[in-house]
Symmetry: C2
DNA sequence: TTTAATTAAGTAATCGATTACAAAAAAAAT
DNA sequence: ATTTTTTTTGTAATCGATTACTTAATTAAA
């Protein structure tokens, strides 16, 4: 694998007997260069197979046209879709995306931030990990003057823009939907309350109960992790109760799936006896034999908007700090796991 | 957002009244620097909040410690898992990963390659798109002397290393499993035969039939795309036949899922009447009410090994071109969609 | 005590592109 | 024909770190 000598603007300038400055300007379509020279340089550059060294350019310009994205995990449908949204929006602007995973560890998160800052990225997008309680590592980003945009999972840091779902409303909508299906004893499989998103979903859940004059029962709230097993356990726990729930609103799809599996193995009919609603609209929810009702977070849209917020930020004067907070509306995809009307319809046939 | 002045080695050298060269050497733990100076520099650098400018370093050293990964789609479980494997292996070596998507378009692929080469990445990992028939854009990578490793989907380019699944064996195993379950009229939902992987799965399928003295019936082969609808259509087509199949080996999980949905809606019992095997071991296959038998491609392992191949390559003398071809063994996860013994067992209870 | 060997630090070029400033060439104005 | 203006190009510094080559300082050997 021979390392072909790299062609530089100096090689072009020697060949044409002009200065490297002229070559540089010609290649950048600087209007101060005559059309004749510009075309000649362009032609020669192509002939010599010249490739601009973006490192040198970045060093000089102070911009790399790279941005970093930090997510807990890359192989979650939600996050990869957000990333795709960011990419779609930023690629046309010449940006490249460096993806990092925190694996839900704040230590990794801090390390990734450091590495990204060292690589001189032009901006950072991030969804904080579950273990992120302090903000020092995040403030470092601000100190460097690097634009930062939180998406989905944010943490309160003054001056940082964010694009999130209206999780409160989502929790409200999901619960309200269950109530409209006739459920009254609604259990909630919550996520880690340390994360704003889960807290807000929980708050929305409570608000919907209150607005419908249903008493809130703390025994119906089980904290789960986003795992199937966690959902199974939750049902085991809930079905110990005197008054069993007639609905489950899970803050995550995996826990919802586990709950459904456990309910089925107990021969409980869904949605007749118990309605189930999940959260995230993971692809599998709609492929199930019993498709699961789930809350969509419009991840790709979230990514696109986060990218737009970033673009605005770099356009603006760096000395002015503007904090922009975008809140996206959730969308409920009602499927069989909570759709009693549909079942009645089928029975009617 | 004030852009704090960047601290350079010159600032440190001025502060300590030593040369920048000494600072650089001290920071790099060069043995020619006295312990005293080394410690002093380290302390001062920390105090001044010095951050190495990796651009300048990369420009000088000719290495960026960034690698590019090009995949058709990032939000496919298989690809994101491979990426995760690459990451796990490469992060300890100080590499960062730039992820690009081709969206199955060779034009995008070429563009991404160009962009990556311009950014001076130290290596490229890629899984070619379905539309990649020519290799010119790939040869560019070689011309630059940039290490390249194909994973999963490769295309024949002399001198390029690859890490792939033994798709032939996988096809053979899947088919053999179906035969062992008593199936004789096995249909194959193949993928795009232009891709080696699908061709090999198909060949393995045929070989297993032959070895078991089952005649190959071309009517039982339907080309599908990796979509649910495609699987539904395939079953519709197959069930037009006089002799309906008693098994389906799909080269993709999504088509398998579609097939199962269609079979169920036709009240065909799985696995009693028809056994179904998918491919890729997508997460949803095991979460289904009727879990789907599927071939696992050990994606994370694939990523790790691809990374190791890359690391070997950069270690070696660049003037020697070594082509390494790794073939990984597939693993069949037998689940209810093709497990008749399990069903008999259940009935026996 | 002088010389040789070793260690530590400095000088300056380099990586490749950009750009402020200067200079030359061409065109326009007097 | 000369001066002014405009256009085009060149010179050289710069971004920040690395490193070949020297030089200075220290230690060991004669």
């Amino acid at each position: 694998m021979k390392n072909k000598e790299k062609v530089t603007i100096y090689d072009i300038s020697k060949r044409l007997n002009i200065s490297a400055a002229t070559v540089s300007r010609a290649l950048n379509n600087n209007p101060k260069i005559s059309e004749k020279t510009r075309k000649l340089v362009a032609k020669t550059a192509a002939e010599m197979n010249y490739k601009q060294n973006r490192l040198a350019q970045a060093l000089k310009k102070g911009r790399t046209n790279n941005v970093g994205v930090i997510v807990p995990y890359i192989n979650r449908s939600f996050f990869s879709s957000v990333i795709r949204g960011i990419e779609e929006e930023l690629t046309p602007h010449g940006y490249h995306i460096i993806i990092c995973q925190s694996h839900e560890e704040v230590a990794n998160e801090a390390e990734q931030i450091n590495a990204l800052l060292n690589t001189q990225i032009d901006g950072i997008f991030m969804s904080v990990s579950k273990t992120t309680q302090t903000t020092e590592h995040i403030k470092k980003i601000q100190e460097e003057g690097t634009p930062l945009v939180f998406f989905d999972r944010k943490i309160d840091v003054p001056g940082v823009s964010s694009v999130v779902l209206d999780d409160y409303k989502a929790g409200y909508m999901a619960t309200d939907h269950l109530i409209k299906e006739g459920c009254r004893r609604i259990a909630h499989l919550s996520g880690d309350i340390n994360l704003e998103i889960y807290k807000n979903r929980f708050e929305g859940f409570k608000a919907a109960l209150k607005d419908n004059e249903i008493e809130f029962n703390p025994a119906y709230v089980i904290q789960t992790s986003s795992k199937i097993e966690s959902g199974i356990q939750a049902v085991e726990e809930l079905w110990e109760l005197e008054q069993k729930p007639d609905a489950i609103f899970s803050a995550g799809d995996y826990a919802a799936l586990g709950a459904i599996q456990e309910l089925k193995s107990r021969k409980i009919n869904i949605p007749k006896d118990v309605c189930v609603v999940g959260f995230s609209n993971e692809p599998f929810t709609k492929y199930m034999e019993l498709p699961i009702t789930s809350m969509d977070q419009t991840p790709q849209m979230m990514g696109k908007i986060a990218a737009q917020v970033f673009l605005e930020q770099v356009k603006e004067d760096k000395t002015i700090s503007v904090e922009k907070r975008v809140v996206l509306p959730p969308e409920l995809f009602i499927r069989n796991s909570s759709n009693r009307k549909l079942i009645n319809l089928e029975n009617a046939v």
